[in-house]
């Protein structure tokens, strides 16, 4: 292991920790996942191929560690035991008129050049804050699907919730996340 690799690892640690905390919502579990990732990276440094960035490689290890932790948590405390969040439901109901049309003041409008936002660090802080703001069960299912890349079948298996329930939870997550980004980022960007 070259010394520059070692310092690179240290420099990336806070990013890895933030990523793990976002997924696991548990500082202790996040710390464990990062620790295991760093150990695996130190042990398997030769497996790293230059075709991806070092950070991408570390995140891919971390992702697997997080999935392992989620699996074991799922066995101990199934997500199906978490109940619906009435506040979340009320927030969704508030987006639509009784006839199912968008309420006038929340009708989605086009976002100007959203891809450009992906290059701005401030956007990512807002995005993470929006993810963090989702209710726990919603966030867990959404991250498993979108950030960790599991399909709904796997999510059902790991969490014990039904497929149709999974779709409902993902839909709520997307509605809430879109609204949060609108409010926290794109509304300001347009002004």
């Amino acid at each position: 292991m070259e010394p520059d690799r070692h310092s690179e690892l240290n420099a990336l640690r806070p990013d890895l920790l933030r990523f793990a905390r976002l997924q696991l919502r548990d500082a202790g579990a996040a710390e464990d996942a990062v620790q295991e990732t760093l150990l695996a990276a130190l042990a398997g440094g030769k497996q790293f191929e230059q075709k991806s960035s070092y950070k991408t490689w570390l995140i891919s290890i971390l992702r697997n560690k997080i999935i392992d932790i989620i699996r074991s948590q799922g066995r101990e405390a199934p997500l199906s035991a978490l109940t619906d969040d009435p506040e979340e439901e009320a927030a969704i109901e508030a987006l639509f008129e009784a006839d199912g049309h968008w309420r006038k003041d929340v009708r989605p409008a086009r976002w100007a050049d959203p891809e450009a936002s992906l290059e701005q660090q401030q956007f990512w802080r807002v995005f993470e804050a929006c993810l963090d703001h989702l209710p726990e069960r919603t966030a867990r299912v959404f991250m498993m699907r979108e950030v960790l890349g599991l399909d709904t079948g796997e999510i059902c298996k790991e969490t014990g919730i039904s497929t149709s329930n999974c779709w409902v939870v993902l839909h709520r997550a997307r509605l809430a996340l879109r609204a949060c980004l609108q409010q926290g980022w794109f509304a300001g960007a347009e002004a």
Binding site: W102, R174, L175
Partner: protein, 60 residues
Amino acid sequence: MLSCKQATELMSQEQDRRLTLVERIGLRLHVMICSACASYRAQMAFLRQACRRLGSGGGL
């Protein structure tokens, strides 16, 4: 005709499963005449893009 609320459900589910032909046609007709839902659909695609980026370490 789908309501916007129903359309948003399908726009979420199309990210997770293949919609039926009837659902796809209904959704296509809806977004043709509803600019809010057309925007929403583009934003769903953007959310996926951002999450993928986050999941591959590019969002930090």
